[in-house]
Symmetry: C2
Subunit: 454 residues, 2 copies
């Protein structure tokens, strides 16, 4: 499931950029705090929070006086790094270029930023926003006004997840994300971050969307078919939906593709009460089986799940294998991970806390695997097999993925954000069948008979 | 719409091959005619009819005493050519290799075999079968017994179309088709001919399927929703469906992709009477607009249509533009052609005659365009644009194509035959947008606003 809802950009990027920059300035002015302070403690500490400008993007954000200060007299790469954190990041990039062993650096990169489980610093919305890839979709002033509400906390979480993941990928790749903001006529919008044809990543997309308005009859029908009892006022059902969604396709066939998506849905009923639920998951699609990677990935997810409920990992692991299933091929898309939907228990606080743990673990699930295989050599045949598997990825996404299907069927969707999940290139070979006993056959076997990796 | 129904291969190719070969021998024995005679008069006269062996295929047919005779002491290429016809074909291949001008050869290749509108030689089933890529799906003896019936005449037509098209493509490419026979548990089967990574063609697929049995409740429901009134006996509706379907993706971005599909459906009702209808179409998907090609393609179709009804071309051209529409992109898949369905008037004879004209014109629609651009030089950028357009082709086929959707949703479908329509490779670039005034922008403009080419 890629992302909740994607909608059309009816204004030019430039107009949107101006509006958002003005929202941001308004937020800055109302907070009275210094735009330079930065206190959040995730992997983004590797990078300066002052980076609301998208190099090579059609949308450029220059935060007042700070981007200039940080950027003046520095190289593009230099501008991305500051203080002690730069040492680790620069080492990672330099090491990549020098073809060094990456196991140790992978450890460093992920140990620098332990998963912090403290409560999000609700009072510091503005400062946290400064670490994002772009100003949030919702006006910062509005976020500050309703900072205790779940939709604010979730929007902050998805923006933070996008920033953490993008920055971690930029460090390992050396490239930069193109940041596109888009707006939805009926309410809300999104921020799409895409890096294409980088050194390490063939195509990396990390999207956020925050949309609201009234549920269409079709959407309400779809939800009722999933067991939701929805009582609207005069037939109207105000809703708010948001999520972060990412698909990363690396170049090296020994680095797996990863996908994650965490989302929140809220519907206001006739009597003013709210129905809400969370959904999401993280799953891995390798081209070759590497048991150590599979263990690391699943175990990292399991640890995040176990802190909340011992049934979460086993249940959501099964759900993942069921969901990412290419029916017509009789095989799963990848080696799974976790997947869940309609999570509305035991309490909103606990469900959010679980989603937060999941979202905060995406970097730790994936980056060590990337670093580990960064310099693995590969043959043309291995690259071909990767392309064939990419074809299967396209098949799943276009034929089965609920999010993609829903998005494509919604008039005025932002197609480029939905289809950023597709690889840069893919291949369909007639009657492709790996020979018995090969690593390719081993991969297929794992896709046909999902395994327990932990 | 790719093909009607595709089903599972539950026997190994070898077993199936043996069975079919035995059917064929039975047919030969019962006919009492010489397996060497060959009288049909289409483009297949360019090539010998003695070729029921698939080089590089998992299924091999050697017709008794003839393949040996033809093949002994000849090269692989030599075995494909005989008599005067070989001159034209060999010239085409040699010319291709010598990088000569192909306009003249295109003329030759297509003028050698004018579209013959004579009645199909009903009495010569066995001889006609010998020109096919493989024995027909239905036992030849059975075809001879019911040679006047529409399903026999249609099966002969689709087999002939497959053979004509495959052979014409083999001549221009120099490669050979892999011929796979598959069988359907519930009745019938198919013959898939695929040439992959040839000199001229990236991927070329020409499939035939002939299936029968009882309509599933789902299929009957789908047909009723299309306005069909179906009265079954004890709820059972015996049906027979068949078609030929082809998608050709060339390597050179100046040679367009072509697709055609011609099909026949027959349902037996409670009182023993039959409902029947035809469907089909031929459409072109160029990477760059070439008005001369577009005119040739559409005009050839128009000429075939006009012989039957002056409204066929204008109506079916519009239908084609409507059908091959990528809704979420707001663009057609290609520059169209003709498309029709549920054709059950003015009479079965006349409808069949029209379908025959369409099927017989596929070589003439496409091959001259192939020859014309065979040696066009192209840049890396042009190849990239082709790959992006291939991505759109995949989107249409997986998201919208009724035949593909129906096939993928049918348990036990023969997936490889359905998905042979996908290109060998495709590309998705985020926010790809051709610059104004470029040839790529001109192409997009024609896809967004379908034109009249004739």
């Amino acid at each position: 499931m890629a992302t909740i809802v994607f909608c059309s950009v009816n204004k030019t990027a430039r107009t949107t950029a101006r509006r958002c920059l003005s929202s941001y300035s308004k937020g800055l002015a109302s907070s009275g705090e210094s735009p330079l302070s930065c206190t959040h403690s995730s992997l983004t500490t590797l990078l300066p929070s002052t980076r609301w400008f998208s190099r090579g993007s059609s949308v450029r954000f220059m935060s007042h006086g700070t981007a200039g200060r940080a950027g003046a007299g520095r190289t593009r790469r230099g501008a991305l790094l500051s203080g002690a954190a730069a040492v680790t990041a620069a080492a990672a990039v330099a090491g990549f270029l020098a073809n060094a062993n990456h196991f140790q650096r992978a450890e460093m990169a992920t140990k620098v930023s332990p998963i912090s489980e403290e409560k999000e610093p609700e009072g510091e919305i503005l400062e946290r926003c400064r670490g994002f890839m772009s100003p949030p979709v919702t006006d910062i002033g509005e976020l500050q006004e309703r900072k205790g509400e779940m939709r604010t906390r979730m929007e902050m979480l998805i923006m933070q997840t996008q920033a953490d993941f993008c920055k971690a990928l930029e460090v390992v790749d050396g490239g930069t994300f193109k940041v596109d903001r888009w707006q939805r006529n009926e309410g809300g919008g999104g921020i799409s971050c895409v890096m294409q044809d980088g050194k390490v990543f063939e195509k990396a997309g990390v999207n956020v969307s925050v949309v609201f308005g009234y549920l269409t009859e079709e959407a309400a029908k779809q939800m009722r078919s999933r067991g939701k009892v929805l009582k609207g006022k005069d037939g109207k059902l105000p809703f708010c939906a948001m999520g972060v969604s990412s698909v990363i396709h690396p170049k090296n066939p020994h680095i797996p593709t990863v996908h994650f998506n965490y989302r929140y849905f809220e519907i206001e009923e006739e009597d003013g009460s709210k129905q809400w639920w969370f959904g999401g998951g993280t799953d891995l699609t390798p081209v070759y089986i590497n048991k150590e990677d599979a263990f690391h990935f699943h175990n990292t997810l399991k640890e995040a799940c176990d802190k909340h409920h011992s049934q979460y990992y086993p249940d959501f692991k099964k759900w993942c294998d069921r969901y990412f299933y290419i029916q017509h091929r009789g095989e799963t898309r990848g080696i799974g991970g976790i997947f869940f939907d309609d999570l509305d228990s035991p309490s909103q606080e606990e469900a959010f806390s679980f989603v937060k743990s999941c979202a905060r673990t995406v970097v730790h699930c994936y980056l060590p695997i990337v670093y580990k295989h960064l310099n693995d050599s590969f043959t043309e045949e291995e690259k071909d097999w990767q392309q064939v598997r990419r074809g299967r990825y396209v098949e799943f996404n276009l034929v089965y993925d609920r999010g993609v299907k829903f998005g494509l069927a919604t008039p005025g969707s932002r197609i480029e954000s939905i289809l950023m999940s597709l690889p840069l290139s893919a291949r369909w070979e007639y009657m492709h069948k790996p020979a018995k006993g090969t690593l390719e056959a081993e991969m297929l076997e794992a896709l046909r008979n999902p395994k327990e990796w932990v």
